[in-house]
Symmetry: C2
Subunit: 394 residues, 2 copies
C-alpha cells in the first residue's frame, strides 16, 4: 500500500523559468556591459504605498506593547479587513456579507488550498494557455483535466463546451498570460453552464483592477446566478504591490451548495482546522489599501503600469505587430511574427534588443508561437524596449 501521494510522480517538470534564466545568464556572461530590459516575470516593481507603509509600521508598534499586542488571529480573517473588502465590492454593486469574504495569504496559496473542498474524482475544465499552477495543483490531487483551447480564433476567451458535464471550471479574467478579458455575455454563458451542470467556477480575479472598460465585469458576482456556482479568488499582489508582502481574499457566497453541503461553512471548517489566520501585521497593512487615501495611492501606483502598457502597445502598433491584452491587463500577448516560435522570438529579442519576455510555450500548447510581455517593469526599460522592438521583429 502506498505511503505517499503518488500523484506527484505524474507531474511534468517545468523548465520554463530555469531555461529562461540559463539563456539570460549565458548572454550576460558574454555581454556584461549590456543592461537587460526585464519584461519577463509578472512581479511588481513599485514599492508599497505610503498609507500601507504607515499602517504596517503602526501594526509593528502594536506588536511591541502588551496592551495592543495581537495573538492568534481569527482564522477566516481580521474582522475590519473582511468588512473593508465587502465594502470594496459594494462600490461595484456586488453585495456580500462580511462572512462571505475570507482573507488569504494570496491568490497562489488559495488556489491550491481551496481544492481541498472538492472531490478528487471531480473533473476539471481548464482553458489553455494558463497559469501553470492550475494544472499542476490538480495533477497533484489526481483530478482529470479537460483542456479547452483558448486561441486567436475565440479571442482567447472560449465559450462553454457543447457537452454538459460537471466540473471544476477555471476562469481567469483579465487573463494571465493572454491579457484577454471575458465579456459580460460570455461570463453569463459560463455561469448558466455551471448552474445547469452542477459545476463550480473558480474565478481568478487577481488582475481585476486593470480593467479600464466600464462594461467588462471585474467580479463574477456582477453576473446574475454567479452566487450559486462561483468562488472568486483575488489578491492585493498586483493591485497594491503585495507580491512579497502576501495578502489576498476569497469570496464564497452562502448560496453556494453542492451535495447538500454549504461550501462557505465547509471553508470555515477548513480554515479553523488548518490555519491560524494571516499575520496581523500584514492584515493591518492590507486594511489601509481599502481606505480612501489608500485607494487613491493604488490608482497612482497602477498608473505607472498602465502608462507602460500604453507606451508598449503604441510601439507594437507602429511595428505592425499583432497582440492581445494591454488595455485591461498588465500583460501583452504578442503573436510571434513570421511563424517564429516563442523560443525563437525569445532568443532574437534577447540577443538583438536585450529584451527579456516569456515564450508562450510555457503556458500550454495553445501558447506556441505567442509571447508574453509583463508591464510590471521599469518605465525606462519599457520605453527602451518599445524603441527597439520594431527594428528587430520586422
Amino acid at each position: 500500500m502506498p505511503t505517499v501521494n503518488l500523484n506527484y510522480g505524474k507531474l511534468k517538470n517545468s523548465y520554463l523559468f530555469a531555461n529562461i534564466a540559463e539563456r539570460v545568464n549565458a548572454y550576460s556572461a558574454l555581454h556584461p556591459e549590456q543592461h537587460l530590459l526585464r519584461l519577463g516575470i509578472g512581479d511588481v516593481t513599485q514599492p508599497l504605498t505610503p498609507s500601507v507603509i504607515a499602517a504596517l509600521h503602526e501594526a509593528v508598534d502594536m506588536q511591541s506593547r502588551s496592551d495592543t499586542f495581537h495573538g492568534y488571529m481569527s482564522e477566516c480573517g481580521y474582522a475590519p479587513l473582511r468588512s473593508a473588502i465587502a465594502g470594496y465590492y459594494r462600490q461595484r454593486n456586488v453585495i456580500l456579507k462580511d462572512s462571505e469574504v475570507f482573507v488569504s495569504s494570496g491568490a497562489s496559496d488559495e488556489l491550491g488550498d481551496i481544492l481541498h473542498l472538492f472531490e478528487r474524482s471531480l473533473d476539471v475544465i481548464l482553458m489553455e494557455p494558463a497559469y501553470p499552477a492550475y494544472a499542476d495543483a490538480n495533477v497533484m490531487d489526481g483530478r482529470m483535466i479537460h483542456y479547452m483551447d483558448a486561441s486567436d480564433a475565440n479571442g482567447f476567451t472560449p465559450p462553454p463546451p457543447q457537452e454538459s458535464f460537471q466540473a471544476l471550471i477555471y476562469i481567469c479574467s483579465p487573463n494571465n498570460p493572454t491579457g484577454a478579458v471575458f465579456t459580460r455575455d460570455l461570463l453569463k454563458q459560463w455561469v448558466d453552464y455551471a448552474n445547469q451542470t452542477g459545476s463550480v467556477i473558480l474565478f481568478d480575479a487577481a488582475y481585476e483592477v486593470f480593467i479600464s472598460e466600464a462594461d467588462i465585469p471585474r467580479s463574477i458576482y456582477e453576473i446574475e446566478g454567479a452566487k450559486t456556482c462561483a468562488i472568486e479568488i483575488s489578491s492585493l499582489s498586483k493591485t497594491a504591490g503585495f507580491t512579497g508582502t502576501r495578502c489576498g481574499y476569497t469570496v464564497i457566497p452562502e448560496e453556494l451548495v453542492r451535495d447538500d453541503m454549504n461550501l462557505n461553512a465547509m471553508w470555515v471548517r477548513n480554515r479553523t482546522t488548518r490555519t491560524n489566520g494571516v499575520s496581523f501585521i500584514v492584515q493591518h497593512g492590507a486594511l489601509a489599501v481599502f481606505s480612501d487615501r489608500g485607494q487613491k495611492e493604488v490608482q497612482e501606483l497602477l498608473s505607472v503600469y498602465r502608462m507602460n502598457a500604453k507606451n508598449f502597445m503604441k510601439a507594437l502598433d507602429e511595428a505592425g505587430l499583432k497582440y492581445f491584452g494591454g488595455r485591461n491587463s498588465p500583460y501583452i500577448w504578442m503573436k510571434c511574427p513570421d511563424g517564429m516560435s516563442g523560443w525563437e522570438t525569445f532568443d532574437r529579442l534577447l540577443e538583438q534588443a536585450q529584451i527579456i519576455g516569456t515564450p508562450g510555450e510555457g503556458f500550454g500548447k495553445c501558447g506556441a508561437g505567442w509571447f508574453r510581455f509583463s508591464m510590471f517593469a521599469d518605465q525606462k526599460d519599457i520605453e527602451k524596449a518599445g524603441s527597439r522592438i520594431g527594428a528587430v521583429l520586422k
Copy 2:
C-alpha cells in the same frame, strides 16, 4: 458523482471553546465586577521582543523603496532565514542542510498542508489526549485513525503498539495538552518502529524551547535513525510570541524516502506550486529571533512563562493536587480531584475562584477527569490563581 469532499460531513462539531465562552459570558454577566484569571487558551501574552520589532520596522521600510523592495519570495523560504534555522539546530548537534529547512506560516498551517504528501489510504496513529486539529485534518482527508491511549498509566507518553503497521504517526513533545515529554529511549523506540514498518513520524516540536532538562530531546533528529522516518514541524509562536505574527519552520531530511519518492523533493514541488512563500516582512522579523541578541531576548521573554509555571506548580503541590507538565512545558495538566469531571472542575474554578482553564474532555476521551492550565498568562493572574486554587479544590 459527488462534487465536494464529503469527508467534511464526517467531522464532529467541537463546541469546546464555544461552550467555555458561553459559561464565561454567563458568569461575567452576573458578576461584572469580577476580574477573571485567564489560564485557558494557549495564546501568548508577552509582546514581540525589541530586536524582532526593529527588524520588522526595517523590513517595512525596505518595502517602501524601489531599491530595497521585495516582490515574490522564494517559495520554500527566505535563504538567510533557512540558514539561520539550520544554525539553530546545529547548536544542538543536529546537522541539517539549509535545503532541508522550509519556512512556514506556522505549525498549525503546516500540520494541515503537509498531509498533502501522503496517500489518503494511509492509516494514522494518534495518541489522545491531543491537539484536536490532528484528528480533524485527517478526517477531512478521509484517513482512518487508530487512537492510542495516553494516560496516567503510561505517563501520557505511550510506547509503540505491539502490532506492526504502516502509518502516519503523530508525536507532540512537549505535549499539548498534557505537558508530558518523550524521553530519548522512548523516542528511539518510536523511530525504530517507524523505520521497521515504513511509517512516517510527524514530530510537533512547537514547544521544544520549554524543555529545561538536558537529557530530554528537543528535536526528533537527536535520535539516531530519525532522518529516514521523520518530519519535524516547529514554530516561533510559543518561542518568540509569533502567534499573531505567523512564522514557523519544517524539516524534511533528504534521506526520507517512501515508495521511491523523496519527500523533500515532493515538498519543494508542493511549495513551488501551491504558495508564493511567507511574507518578506514576517521572515525578516523572524530572522532577528535567531541572532545572538534575539536569542537572549527570547530567554527573557520565556522566563515570564517559566516563572508562571514554577509558581503555579508550587501552589498545586501545596494543595496536594496531582499534575503532569509544567517543568518542560507551558502547560500544566491537572488530575481533577474527588473524581470530578473536567467540566465540573471548570465550573467550580470559575464560580469560586474566577479561574478559567480548559476541561481535558476537549482533547479526547483520555482527557476526561483532567484539566489544562496554560502558563502563557499574566503573571499577576497566575499568582492570584495559585493563591485561590487550594481552597477551592481541597
